[in-house]
Symmetry: C2
């Protein structure tokens, strides 16, 4: 293990530990902060400017040229170029954030009203009823306001709230519906939750609806995984077992409620100040979470129950939030192209771009969207949960203790980086890709994915690296990534032959999907102006390695861009903006859905992609 440096980001108050030489953009991504990179991260667009407020960080020639010496002296750097060589405190301006345009703060045109895009709060200082003034509580409260409907819960709370607060209260509206009333002036407390519901991984974000700022984020495994680790096994459970749907639903609803508890207590936000929840997941996950039987997704022609975005409330879903909290479930495109893809398209801005672009969202299902000639085409491939650490012998989620990066040092041996600077407990998806790429490079793994036994290894492999390859039986060969002294339980963390096979399957599914979408549109990979990589773990992948193992076609790295967890990002936008909610319905209707599962060409492309690309050693 080489020494890592602590990088703190302001104002988000996030901290990560990274190896020397890591670009600040990658460090920020590790911290969940995705920066703008219109040029693909090559230092020309200048949109990723950040400021070093503490610590040493040398400026390059191209940064001086782009920013001028005065700004360099003030600490400004370009995050795509500047690299880590010491502990740093870094300030990130709002304008450099990838999702800056989602942070819509509506001007206060009325001193009494703070308006955000979806939830409005209005403070009212009322005259208490006096002799002869028997105006109803509700009319008194809402006088002069535009109101369509008033929720019964709100009326139930109203008389008590007004009389406890000496008739000073805050009205909460979603559009023209009054959803709550609170004693006193609570305009400064207004929150929403965005959830990315993956088959394997769940990501929850608490968002301040007044500023658009993310207040807290948390991730965990989807407890449904104990019933089967891909969507098909979950659908099968619903088909075969009475109560299967309810068990799966209870599992994920329980997860979300745990995450809500964590997010709220971490940021000291009261549940009653959460007014809106946005859910984005694949079709099966969304239907199960809503309690809608996904059985028809398990047989031809894979029919979802709904397509349009769905408005409901926290009580109907079973979330432990006030019953009036609205819930928006993303629209779905097809049986296996769900709300998470719609959210990704929204976040990536694909539906408004003119160029040919590709979005690859890597999860248990890999969703691939091609924008070309103004047409959006989407498909889904079953990648399996390998990238999320499941089905891998020593696999784990990208959490503290996970090996998240594998590189080759100057001595030719492998170097690892562990999340949280502690002994290793396993490896996560990005390390899996790294390890296979590095081992392909040095010839320990061959084109077919076979780990060569010591007696077949090339002669030029350094002794330390060679010593990592171990054979238990003829069929059981492995590469040690972390030696016993580097791990928590004193057992080595290894990459097994079986793990490489899992990676090959996942890898081939994604690559075959990409190739087929391109082929159908009459395109070659070089026609793409950009490939956008998304997914809960997308920002941890090394682009070079993704190309090296053949997951992505051989494109120059500046045409491959990380856009972070696009589903979460899209969900956040829908939380903050009415326009985004309208846009997703447009997207849902505009996208062509391609089902590759029965396409013989797909089987062919898949077989081809099972072989790793030839390497220049």
């Amino acid at each position: 293990m080489s020494r890592e440096f602590k990088i703190s980001f302001m104002p988000a108050e996030r901290t990560v530990y990274v190896l020397p030489g890591t670009p600040l953009m990658e460090a920020a991504a590790r911290a969940g902060i995705i920066l703008q990179a219109a040029c693909g991260g090559v230092g020309t667009c200048g949109k990723c400017v950040i400021r070093i407020v503490d610590g040493e960080c040398a400026a390059s020639e191209s940064e001086i040229k782009a920013l001028g010496s005065a700004r360099i002296a003030a600490g400004d750097r370009l995050a795509c170029i500047a690299t880590v060589s010491a502990p740093l405190t870094v300030e990130i301006p709002e304008t450099s954030l990838f999702d800056a345009d989602a942070r819509i703060l509506v001007a206060n045109d009325d001193r009494d009203t703070v308006a955000v895009t979806t939830i409005h709060k209005t403070f009212r200082r009322l005259q208490p009823p006096e002799h002869g003034d028997c105006v109803s509580d509700c009319d008194r409260l809402l006088q002069g306001m535009t109101v369509r409907q008033v929720r019964l819960d709100m009326l139930r709370a109203l008389p008590g709230v007004l009389r406890r607060s000496n008739f000073e209260a805050t009205v909460v509206q979603f559009d023209d519906d009054v959803i709550a009333v609170e004693p006193g002036d609570t305009r400064d407390r207004c929150y929403g939750l965005a959830f990315d519901i993956g088959s394997t991984t769940l990501v929850g974000t608490l968002v301040d609806l007044l500023t658009g700022n993310q207040r807290a984020v948390t991730a965990r495994m989807n407890s449904q995984a104990r019933f089967g680790d891909d969507v098909l096994s979950r659908i099968q459970l619903c088909r075969s077992e009475t109560g299967g749907l309810i068990r799966l639903r209870d599992a994920v609803v329980g997860d979300l409620n745990d995450m809500i508890r964590v997010l709220l207590s971490e940021s000291r936000v009261a549940p009653e100040h959460v007014y809106r929840v946005v859910l984005a997941g694949n079709t099966t996950m969304q239907q199960i979470l809503c309690g809608i039987d996904p059985s028809a997704l398990g047989e031809l022609p894979f029919v979802p129950v709904f397509n349009r975005g769905l408005e409901t409330d926290a009580a109907a879903i079973g979330l432990r939030l006030p019953a009036a909290a609205g819930v928006f479930v993303f629209p779905q495109i097809g049986g296996f192209v769900g709300g998470d893809t719609v959210a990704g398209i929204l976040a990536a801005g694909m539906w408004e771009e003119g160029e040919s672009t590709l979005l690859v969202d890597i999860g248990t299902n890999g969703e691939i969207v091609l924008a070309h000639d103004g047409v959006l085409t989407a498909t889904s491939v079953a990648a399996g949960p390998a990238f999320e650490g499941a089905r891998i012998v020593n696999g784990m989620r990208a959490a503290a203790g996970a090996i998240e990066k594998v590189t080759t040092g100057n001595d030719g041996d492998l170097m690892i980086n562990i999340i949280g600077n502690r002994p290793a407990t396993g490896l996560c998806g990005s390390a899996l890709i790294d390890a296979v790429a590095e081992l392909l490079c040095c010839g320990i793994i061959d084109m077919t994915g076979r780990i060569l036994p010591p007696d077949e290894l090339p002669a030029d492999i350094p002794a330390a690296l060679r010593a990592r390859v171990r054979v238990q039986t003829e069929d059981d060969i492995m590469v040690i990534l972390a030696h016993p002294e580097e791990t928590a339980n004193r057992e080595p963390v290894c990459l097994y032959q079986k793990d490489v096979r899992e990676l090959q399957l996942a890898n081939a599914a994604i690559r075959a999907g990409i190739d087929l979408l391109l082929r159908r549109a009459g395109l070659e990979s070089r026609d793409l102006s950009v490939i956008m990589l998304a997914g809960a773990f997308g920002n941890y992948i090394r682009r070079r390695n993704a190309v090296r193992i053949g997951m992505l076609p051989p494109l120059a790295l500046d045409h491959i861009r990380f856009i972070g967890n696009a589903a979460s990002l899209g969900a956040k936008r829908a939380l903050l903006s009415r326009a985004a909610i309208k846009a997703v319905d447009v997207i849902q209707q505009a996208v062509n859905h391609v089902d590759l599962s029965l396409d013989p060409e797909f089987q062919m492309a898949f077989s081809e992609a099972m072989l790793f690309p030839e390497q220049d050693r």
Copy 2:
């Protein structure tokens, strides 16, 4: 007891037993069927025509003149003139019903669509999904339909419903919202419920939304009565006791659920075919039923929590109906002029009339509305539950076994009529009024309401009548209405001095309210073109007796009209017509609310009205 005749009404299949000489209009009212009587029931407008299909019923000169001999020969009669002298089977044409215009049957402009005014059902015969057709269940079902929102419950049911029914299903909409989907063609099953929520009496009506026909009606005491028999005692419970509101709410919700069970089983309607419920009650009853604290109604200036009509659903109220069933709660005018009065104004058509008219809705609270010069003014007086049989020693609701009518026979003795032709168990409100009126007439009760002891009785009183007056102690004097041999428990049913006092209080409150509304508008009672009498028991009152005891001002009887249970009738209209729902909000905003409770003039008028009017013996 004199002999009663059985009168059966078609097509409603209702039966009542009435005394000879009873006008058919009154008999119909007893059966809950209110007929048109634009002329005030004097045989000139011809709107109350009915047909005798079995039994003897002599035609009068004026009927022959109005209808012609051919129609008379065919059995047609005027219900306001024709009287009972034999058992009859009577057919009532739709056009003669008071609420005929509420029965709006929209023409089928599309063979697949049966449209009613508030709930729409559409039958869909769909192509099941085949290879390559992966349109979602929801889009498949709703293709070509105008849809605003889809309920989550409906989506949960959808995949099962479609696949159980070979993709033939019926869509249920309220406006543009899809609230349910049902297997097969269920267009012929479409029901709603209208409830009149009185402090003492609850009336529920099951309505066929396709035809506007009443399918079943049921009434029962409000179980809240065990916590106190007027609204003030209920409000007091909410103010003084934690959980008081919940106890009261649970009581009335339990009552409604019992009534729903009775109504549905009686008419063999499944709960899932009830799509809409309309609730009309006084302000306190509506707020308690909705779970909204009525405490502020218990102190000056008597502020209600809401005024506008409220849209919610069965689940929110706690009704045992599908969660998606919509519930409309009537708008409220003021603390003591509630949804039942708005419903009454709607049913009486007062808001569109040009003449000066008065609506008197008699319940535990008496609501009085004056229409004059295009302005509506409403007030409420606390009449107490005496008219509904409570606080009366032998009082009971107008149900089987209740003495409902007291008259004086040719022999000068009292005659009684008992509901259901069985031994008496008590007396209801109409009999209370009758008894006092008859006893005032013959001099047994004096102007101050005192029952004269036998030694003070006028000399000309027949022996049989005189023998009915009994003295227990000096303060405990009574008149026997049913002798032990006429009663169920062999104890006499009596009118006690205390009962007369209760009647005086109720009577005086209503009369004082009427007088004050008239005085404020600068009117005399003779300026009124009509007084409309409403209330759960309003149609049982003898108009002559209501005038004799001074409850109503001395108006010619053809200016006093029964309009039945106007609150139920208005609720039924709101169930059937979108226009009615709009109208009630207009009414709510147009009505002036007058609070008489603190008006010193009211106290004066009340004291005056405590004395019975002088009689011409």
